[in-house]
C-alpha cells in the first residue's frame, strides 16, 4: 500500500531515482540550465541516456522560465546509443 507521504511522489528519472519535487527544488534555486541540472542531479545520466526524463525536465524548465520548449537548449547526446557490455566492446564473443 502506498504510504501517505509518497502519495504525490512523481518519478522523473527512473534510472537515477529523481523525483519531480527534486527537479523543481533545483529550478527554484535558480538552476534553469539543463546542463547544470544534469551535472548536479545526474538527471539524464542513466542507462536510458535521458530518453525518458529529458523531455519532462525540458517541460518543467519551459514552465518555470516562460520560454517555449523549442528554445530550451538540450544537452549533448553521447554514444553509445544503448548500453553495451565492456566484454562485447573488447571483442569477446562470450559476452554477446
Amino acid at each position: 500500500m502506498c504510504e501517505a507521504k509518497n502519495k504525490d511522489l512523481i518519478m522523473m528519472c527512473r534510472c537515477e531515482d529523481i523525483t519531480l519535487d527534486e527537479v523543481r527544488d533545483y529550478i527554484n534555486q535558480g538552476i534553469t540550465d539543463l546542463e547544470q541540472l544534469k551535472r548536479l542531479l545526474r538527471i539524464g545520466m542513466g542507462p536510458c541516456q535521458g530518453r525518458t526524463c529529458t523531455p519532462l525536465v525540458v517541460n518543467e524548465l519551459a514552465k518555470a522560465t516562460g520560454r517555449p520548449v523549442k528554445e530550451i537548449p538540450l544537452t549533448v547526446f553521447r554514444q553509445p546509443t544503448t548500453p553495451v557490455k565492456l566484454g562485447v566492446l573488447a571483442g569477446g564473443i562470450d559476452y554477446e
Binding site: 546542463e35 551535472r39 545526474r42 545520466m45 553509445p80 565492456l86 562485447v88 566492446l89 573488447a90
Partner: protein
C-alpha cells in the same frame, strides 16, 4: 554592458572557482568570474574525478597532499548543503617494467619525505586490495589509502556558491574574446557582452588560456590534447581504489555512485581542440580494462565523452604572474591533474595575487621557466 571589476577571473572550472573563493575569503572585493558556457563545461567537468597524493615531484606531492587535506573538510569549510562525494579508497599504481619499479621506488622516497602514507605492495598484496585484479605480468605496485575520488561538479558548485555568498559575481554564457592592455598594463577584457574594465586578470581557462594570452602578444606553451573517458552502469561497490597503469596509460575507479569511470591516454593523439569521442577508444579501453580487471567485462558502458588536457612541455602547471605585464596572473597548463590540486592552488594563487607570501613556494611553476630551460618533468601522469 559596461562595467568595472577589481579582479576578473577567466574560466569557470574548479581552478577559477577555487581562486575566486580564496580571494574573497581573504577580503578581496569586486571579483568577477567569467565563463563562456556553464560552470565545469571545460576540463573540470570532463575529468576522471580522481584525487591522489602519489606524484613524482616534490612540488606536486606537496600541492596534492595539502589539497587532499583540504578536501577532507571541504564540505564543512564551504558550508555546502549537498555532498562533494569525497571517498578515500586509495590509488593502486601498477608497475609492469623494471624501469617503472625503479621510478616508483624513487617516487616513494619523495613521498615519504613529505609524510605521504604510500607504500610498495607485491602482486599478492595488490590482489588483496583489489581481489579481481589480474596480476599477470605485474611486478608490483604502490598504494596510498588517502587517495581517492571527489565529484568535480559538486566541488566546483560548492566553491562557486561559497564565493557568491562572499560577494563574487559569476557571469556564465559570457565569452572573453580579448584581453585589453595599454603600455604593458592590463586595462580590461572584451567579452561577448561588452567591455569590462579591470586592472587584474586571472587566466585559468585551460587550453583556451593560450588563445587569450595571444591577444596581448604573449605566447604560452600550452597545447590542447584530447583524452577520452567512459562510464558504466552503477553496480554494488566492489572496488575500493582507483587502479592506474602508466604502462597501459589507463585509470579505472568505481565512484561512490556505483558506476565505474575509466579513461585512457593515447600517445598518438593529435594536439587540437577536438572533444568528440571515438569508437577506437571504446574498443581499446574495453580491451585493456577487461584484461587488468576481468569481471568488468560484464558491465555495460552507458556513456563516453572526452575532454582537453592543457599540456605544458614538462606536464606541470603554470602558476604566478605573466612577466612584463602588470596585472596578468596565470593558473593554467595543469596537464590533466588540475582538479585534484585545485584546493591548494586556489589558496596559493589568492595569496600570490594579493602580494602575500605563499604558504608553499610556487616560483618553480613560473612561466619564465620555459625560456630559462628549467623544465622539471612530472613522471607520474597518464
Amino acid at each position: 554592458m559596461n562595467k568595472t571589476a577589481d579582479y576578473v577571473i577567466i574560466g569557470g572550472g574548479v581552478i577559477g572557482c577555487s581562486i575566486a573563493y580564496n580571494l574573497a575569503k581573504k577580503g578581496a572585493k569586486n571579483i568577477l568570474l567569467i565563463e563562456k558556457k556553464y560552470l565545469t563545461s571545460g576540463a573540470t567537468g570532463r575529468c576522471g574525478a580522481g584525487v591522489r597524493m602519489q606524484f613524482g615531484t616534490e612540488t606536486n606531492c606537496l600541492l596534492a597532499k595539502n589539497s587532499i587535506e583540504i578536501f577532507e573538510h571541504l564540505g564543512e569549510e564551504l558550508d555546502y548543503q549537498d555532498s562533494i562525494e569525497f571517498k578515500q579508497g586509495g590509488y593502486l599504481l601498477l608497475a609492469y617494467t623494471e624501469k617503472m619499479v625503479e621510478q616508483f621506488h624513487k617516487n616513494l622516497g619523495v613521498q615519504h619525505k613529505l609524510g605521504i602514507p604510500s607504500r610498495w605492495v607485491t602482486p599478492e598484496e595488490a590482489k588483496e586490495i583489489v581481489p579481481h585484479l589480474n596480476t599477470q605480468g605485474l611486478l608490483g605496485a604502490t598504494f596510498c589509502g588517502k587517495d581517492g575520488h571527489c565529484n568535480p561538479f559538486k566541488t566546483t558548485d560548492a566553491y562557486a556558491k561559497a564565493a557568491q555568498r562572499l560577494g563574487v559575481e559569476i557571469l556564465t554564457y559570457t565569452e572573453v574574446t580579448r584581453l585589453l592592455a595599454r603600455e604593458g598594463k592590463i586595462t580590461g577584457v572584451e567579452t561577448s557582452r561588452g567591455v569590462i574594465e579591470t586592472p587584474t586578470v586571472i587566466l585559468c581557462a585551460g587550453s583556451y588560456s593560450r588563445d587569450l594570452a595571444a591577444t596581448i602578444g604573449i605566447e604560452l606553451p600550452l597545447t590542447p590534447e584530447r583524452h577520452q573517458i567512459l562510464v558504466t552502469e552503477p553496480v554494488e561497490m566492489m572496488q575500493g581504489p582507483m587502479v592506474m597503469s602508466f604502462y597501459h596509460g589507463l585509470y579505472c575507479q568505481q565512484v561512490p555512485h556505483g558506476s565505474f569511470v575509466m579513461g585512457l591516454g593515447d600517445p598518438n593523439e593529435p594536439q587540437e581542440y577536438n572533444q568528440n569521442g571515438s569508437w577506437q577508444f571504446l574498443h581499446e579501453m574495453a580491451a585493456k580494462a577487461t584484461f587488468i580487471l576481468p569481471p568488468l567485462a560484464k558491465l555495460r558502458v552507458v556513456r563516453q565523452w572526452a575532454g582537453l588536457y592543457d599540456l605544458t612541455p614538462d606536464r606541470q602547471q603554470i602558476l604566478g604572474s605573466m612577466p612584463d605585464f602588470e596585472g596578468v596572473h596565470l593558473a593554467a597548463g595543469f596537464s590533466g591533474h588540475g582538479f585534484m590540486i585545485a584546493p591548494m592552488t586556489g589558496k596559493l594563487m589568492a595569496e600570490h595575487i594579493l602580494g602575500e607570501e605563499t604558504s608553499l613556494p610556487i616560483s618553480m611553476f613560473d612561466f619564465t621557466r620555459f625560456a630559462r630551460g628549467e623544465l622539471f618533468v612530472e613522471p607520474s601522469v597518464v
